[in-house]
């Protein structure tokens, strides 16, 4: 009980909860901004109304989502100082810079142009208005880049030296921090996973409507865009995950040994698809494993040697002094599998979906559908799936919207828990990072307040999303089809109601 309530434990729970929560909104925001921008570009270029309706529909869901992303992000900027003041003192010289860059270069961009986009429909000429959502999209990605560079430094500190007199780490090479392979691999992996998330979100919601044959024109376009996004992003997520994994095998062998619960190093190390038993004791009662895969993941070589948890622990003890350098093995083991499992499940569903809803390829004439008809799900050459199977097909498509969200959460839990007991790998342990003067009562208070508030907001947000999903894409108005030609709105419109108001 005492251990459970140590300030470090509470602070970690708080960090975990608010960060995982924040990261439900982040990948959706990143991907939906770009996807909405893409749809709006299609509208501006083709003037097909379905694209504008799709823009408005997905734009609305995007806004409901980004609002939560923005407000839950505020806490992130301050919590290092609040709960991790010792950490902040020690690494602020390095870690603060990317955060400040993020605020100055990305947050301003995002939040200013999102305001212009929301309220700008009747204030900005068409192309300028379109440029605003692209700006938002660039802002979201820049933001991701800087914060991931900061996180990568915690995973693999580079470009710094320890100033003994001041008792802190100091930056010596900022460029190295921004461009080290850990950062590049993490950015690549996180952005592709973000698009997998947004694509699956589109697929799921489009499937809700298409299964009921509603709003077909808009939803078919959305389904297609979603599926293509899922497949491309899914593939790239796998590739980038593999890249990141290889980087991690070199930089944090403990994390990767813990991912597999590989206790003792071996050649041709296996990867277990499923394990049942007590992985924390280093043996499994039931196990289904494929030999050589872990070796391949680590070194591109099925026969290579992979160090185990015990070897690495010993090596770290020799390097850093006595202590236990193992993370919580069952957490890393299962988090790693759930990340891959859920992420790849949506990728596979994307491929199958793309095939089932194909437009023409290997599709007989009678199964091809017109612009306003929902697609048949066609598995084999000449026959659509029966009603029951079709129903399941759509149902699975709907479920898939949650899969990448789950995968993302476990991915972060894996990468952060797998680094323990370090907060900055090899440099600073988590327990030395916590704020010494913040009392247990204070942390319990904030943890309770955030948890309650976030739970309430989650209910509100999901209900609101459901309402707008159900409402479907809006009908277009005169004003939508006649955007202004002058900045600030056309002069004749001065006394008209605003196209959008709060």
């Amino acid at each position: 009980m005492e251990l459970a309530l140590a300030p470090e434990t509470m602070a970690r729970w708080q960090f975990g909860i608010i960060t995982v929560y924040h990261f439900f909104f982040v990948p959706l925001t990143i991907s939906l901004a770009a996807l909405v921008a893409g749809l709006q570009t299609a509208w501006v270029r083709t003037e097909k109304q379905k694209y504008l309706r799709a823009t408005k529909f997905w734009g609305k869901l995007f806004l409901i989502n980004i609002a939560m992303g923005v407000v839950t992000g505020i806490v992130q900027e301050f919590q290092f100082g609040m709960n991790w003041s010792a950490y902040s003192r020690f690494v602020g010289d390095i870690f603060g810079a990317p955060l400040a860059f993020e605020a100055l270069l990305a947050f301003f961009f995002e939040s200013t142009f999102i305001g212009l986009w929301i309220f700008g429909w009747d204030k900005l000429p068409k192309k300028l208005h379109l440029a605003c959502i692209w700006m938002v999209s660039i802002g979201t990605m820049l933001s991701a880049y800087f914060i991931l560079a900061a996180n990568s430094w915690m995973q693999h500190p580079v470009g710094y030296r320890i100033n003994k007199a001041k008792g802190r780490a100091e930056l010596t090479d900022f460029w190295h921090v921004l461009t080290q392979n850990t950062a590049l691999a993490q950015v690549f992996h996180t952005l592709t996973a973000a698009f997998l998330t947004g694509g699956a979100f589109m697929v799921g919601i489009a499937a809700i409507h298409l299964a009921r044959k509603r709003h077909v024109a808009v939803m078919k376009t959305s389904l297609r865009l979603g599926l293509v996004t899922v497949v491309i992003a899914g593939l790239l997520t796998a590739i980038s995950g593999d890249t990141l994994g290889k980087v991690m095998f070199k930089q944090q062998p403990m994390k990767m040994a813990a991912a597999e619960a590989l206790w003792d190093g071996q050649d041709s190390a296996p990867f277990s698809i499923f394990a049942y038993g007590d992985v924390s004791k280093g043996h499994n009662s039931v196990e289904l494993s494929i030999p050589g895969i872990l070796s391949f993941l680590a070194n591109d070589d099925f026969n290579s040697y992979v160090p185990g948890i015990n070897d690495t622990n010993k090596a770290e003890q020799e390097k850093y002094g006595p202590g236990d350098y193992r993370p919580i093995i069952p957490v890393t083991f299962w988090a790693f599998r759930w990340m891959i499992g859920f992420g790849m499940a949506s990728f596979v569903i994307g491929i199958v979906g793309l095939w089932l809803t194909r437009k023409k390829f290997m599709l007989p004439q009678h199964l091809r559908v017109g612009e306003d008809e929902a697609p048949h799900l066609v598995l084999f050459k000449n026959k659509a799936l029966g009603p029951k199977l079709s129903k399941w097909g759509w149902r699975i498509a709907i479920w898939t919207l949650a899969f990448p969200l789950i995968a993302n959460s476990w991915g972060w839990i894996f990468t952060e828990m797998g680094r323990q007991p370090w907060v900055v790998y090899g440099v600073l342990q988590t327990r030395y990072g916590v704020s010494p003067t913040v009392s247990q009562g204070e942390v319990i208070t904030s943890l309770t307040v955030y948890s309650l508030l976030y739970a309430i907001l989650a209910v509100i947000e999901v209900k609101l999303l459901a309402k707008y999903v159900k409402a479907g894409p809006p009908e277009l108005t005169e004003a939508d089809l006649n955007p202004p030609t002058r900045i600030g709105g056309d002069s004749g419109d001065a006394d008209k109601p605003m196209a959008f108001s709060y």
Partner: protein, 335 residues
Amino acid sequence: MELHDVWFVLIAVLWTGYFFLEGFDFGVGILTKLLARDRTEKRVLINTIGPVWDGNEVWLLTAGGATFAAFPEWYATLFSGFYLPLLIILVTLIVRGVAFEYRAKRPEEHWQRNWETAIFWTSLIPAFLWGVAFGNIVRGVKIDRNFEYVGNFWDLLNVYSILGGLVTLTLFTFHGAVFVGLKTVGDIRERSRKLALQVGLATAVLALVFLIWTQIDSGDGASLGALIVAVLALVGALAMVNAGREGWAFILSGLTIIAAVAMLFLSLFPDVMPSSLNADWSLTVTNASSSQYTLKIMTWCAVIATPIVLLYQSWTYWVFRKRIGTHHIAVDASH
């Protein structure tokens, strides 16, 4: 001027930008209860800041991030020390952001009313607490030899800091009322002027006491100059409100904020967080700052990015320059 001095100035600029911009949108939030007579007027008020409030708030995030990067010790001491008040501020800012974005997303009256209530309180509370926080920073708090805050929550509530809170609360409300005068048409514009006069007078009294107290406690020649500018600007703003010169009134109410924040920072310098226990334990621009290398990189970033930010944020204000009246609000309330 050394780099850590430059960053002291830049952090002061960021806080000034934050209080100038979010100051009026806190004020507008407060006025939804004080000024609006019906729901439509409330919406007029909310829409005067609709497109810009989010961008305004980023000034705070940037101030936070820049403090972390340039003065890690300051960042660590301040935010771990002022843990509970900061928690309250963060919670209000979270609810406030959601309130703006979600209020109009459902037509039900109780839904909208609840969010309107939220907008009022979540504007009022941080408007007050920021003043309390800065009052404490300037006055000095219990900081030990390790730069750790060793006081408790109640130590932060003292006459001086509460007075500081009342100053920011009234000053932001005044600034907001002047902004509403500039941004609306119709009846509400006239009423905002009357209210601005009343709130402005109250602000003048409170601010005068607070700033003179600050000057006597920790001021020097430069801070006295800023104090005089602040007071003159406030008097000028009141005169301009009275004369119906809305643009000038806004410039001057803004100048009041700029000068008042400048005065606080001038009376701080070269400390960033004085210790009330022992002057040797105070955090200063030298002992709290980052390395030269980090400061240099940050300076380049700020020098290049800040003008661009100012440019596109100003452009936003120009795009949405038209005044808003009740006739601009569409009847169907739900989006």
